[in-house]
């Protein structure tokens, strides 16, 4: 019995590793959502669209400007982040005093508009984006499987980016302002911190994280207008499970659920696309604030 399980696991290990790659995207996207929600109290439903725009910007930079993957990894988040600044200043900042629901509705509307615009201009079939030369070559031999270098890079990049975000929020002065403003923004502003500007930049940073994930995703998934909306529903489940607004929670839950999804593919493939939502339902019933959230 145990031997059989081990055998199955060995056969399934590749699925688990691939689950980790999916987990990398869950982690990055839910991290951005957590940063935005923690600070602005806005549930950014446009996050998936911003992820998709990140991938498209990388594609445009390459095909229209001849700018390759590595510069795009920096430029696309900056460009999409700047777009985030405009959104926050002109629309989202007007909603801070209202219920969460208004922010959710606004950003949901924005997501539909952005997606629609891209579908009109680029159609719904995907556009190819080749991985950078450095990461193209033959797959890495992990002993039990061959993993394309690029997927390994995705996991590494997501871990590093999550760690950087965590350091900024937990260990720096800026992070202390952010954490304090989450508790009492008016007082932080009364100490002389320009809180409205900080909120704008936080939104931009969250959006930039989505775009960064979008660029990472471009060579794996084909670049298409729906790539965000299909992912974002799962990511919202991840955020609910991890606990809204918890940075560490969203990263750990992101990777963790990627793994769980991979494992489910091994043992009970029929459930692999629903397992996250089952966990979400259980967590909501047992611990509504999420695994890492503060009640």
């Amino acid at each position: 019995m145990i031997e059989e399980l081990l055998f199955q696991l060995e056969l399934g290990l590749p699925q688990v590793v691939l689950g980790l790659v999916n987990g990398a995207f869950y982690a990055l996207l839910s991290l951005g959502l957590a940063v935005i929600f923690g600070m602005l109290n806005v549930i950014n439903f446009a996050h998936g669209a911003q992820f998709m725009v990140g991938a498209f910007v990388a594609w445009m930079l390459l095909n229209w400007g001849g700018i390759g993957y590595w510069p795009a990894l920096l430029l696309a988040p900056l460009i999409v982040g700047a777009f985030g600044v405009v959104l926050e200043r002109t629309m989202i900042s007007r909603l801070y005093k209202l219920d969460h629901l208004y922010g959710l509705l606004l950003t949901f509307g924005l997501a539909l508009i952005i997606e629609g615009l891209f579908r009109n201009s680029f159609g719904s079939s995907g556009l190819p984006y080749a991985p950078p030369e450095l990461l193209a070559g033959p797959p890495v031999d992990l002993g039990f499987m061959f993993l394309p270098k690029y997927r390994l890079w995705v996991v590494v990049a997501a871990v590093v980016m999550s760690l950087l975000t965590w350091i900024v929020i937990e260990k720096t002065r800026l992070g202390a302002y952010l954490r304090a403003a989450t508790e009492n923004a008016a007082l932080v502003q009364a100490f002389g911190v320009n809180v409205p500007r900080m909120m704008t930049l936080t939104y931009a940073a969250g959006v930039a994280l989505a775009a960064f994930a979008g660029v990472l995703a471009a060579p794996i998934y084909s670049v298409n207008p729906q790539m965000g909306s299909s992912l974002i529903i799962t990511v919202f489940a991840v955020v609910v499970i991890g606990g809204m607004g918890s940075i560490l929670g969203s990263v750990l839950t992101g990777f963790g659920l990627g793994l769980v999804e991979g494992l489910t593919k091994v043992f009970y493939p029929e459930a692999s696309s629903t397992v996250i939502f089952v966990i979400m339902a259980i967590v909501l019933l047992a611990r509504p604030a999420g695994l890492f959230g503060r009640a």
Binding site: R179, A180, E183, Q189, A190, G192
Partner: protein
């Protein structure tokens, strides 16, 4: 006499639809400790919050070092050199003691250094890594005061720093206020306890129903006791 450091004139303030302040006028000169006395709901806290830019709507005039601040946002008011230690103390739970202490940005030179602050509040040094809200009430109050001494703000507004604290801690806070006055800070203090106020202040304003109704020099306090008892209902 020199121009006052802070001159508030005809200050009106609203929270939503409720009109709280109806034309408050006070002056605070450099180096003074001035208190606002009055019963609960007289508008003392709202006066401090209105000066700091923390009420919904306000009108009238708030001049600090000659600069008009009534329309300014609270971060600009802070940068002009005014700091508030709020009634609820505002210690951040997700920050440890040192982070709480270092949170308010330095707005000008002239604030105390961290060493000077620790010399003034040795307890805080011992508890440097504790989460801010693990401190006792007295320590939290010390932290809330200490926090605004670093910033270089000239005018410190303390909202009921003795509220709910044991007598021995109240005495300690009294000593601290006298000490920081000696170092050249100007203090606007909200108090319900006029016996405490008497031990630290130079002048007192009495507020009722969102207006200043009386002003007493500390030296004349003994003669004004009858009046004060009547105002404060004690």
């Amino acid at each position: 006499m020199a121009d006052p450091l802070l001159k508030v004139d005809g200050l009106q303030a609203w929270y939503g639809e409720s009109h709280i302040l109806h034309g408050v006028g006070i002056e605070v000169h450099e180096g003074e400790v001035v208190t606002l006395l009055g019963r609960n709901g007289a508008g003392k806290t709202t006066t401090l919050r209105a000066i700091m830019g923390l009420v919904g709507r306000r009108s009238g005039s708030i001049r600090f070092e000659g600069q008009e601040l009534v329309a300014a946002r609270s971060d600009r008011i802070a940068r002009a050199g005014i700091a508030l230690c709020p009634e609820e103390r505002g210690i951040f739970a997700s920050l440890d003691v040192t982070e709480n202490l270092l949170l308010p940005p330095v707005v000008r030179p002239g604030g105390l250094s961290l060493d000077e602050i620790y010399a003034l509040f040795p307890n805080l040094k011992e508890r440097a890594r504790s989460p801010g809200t693990r401190l006792s009430g007295g320590e939290q109050q010390m932290l809330a005061i200490a926090r605004i001494l670093r910033t270089g703000a000239k005018l410190l507004m303390l909202d009921e720093p003795t509220e709910g604290l044991a007598p021995v801690i109240v005495q300690q806070i009294g000593r601290t206020i006298r000490e920081i006055k000696q170092r050249g800070f100007t203090i606007l203090l909200v108090e319900q306890n006029f016996r405490f106020a008497q031990t630290v202040a130079d002048r007192h304003y009495v507020m009722e129903h969102g207006r200043v109704v009386d002003a007493v020099n500390n030296a004349e306090m003994a003669g004004a006791m009858g009046r004060l008892h009547e105002y404060l209902g004690v």
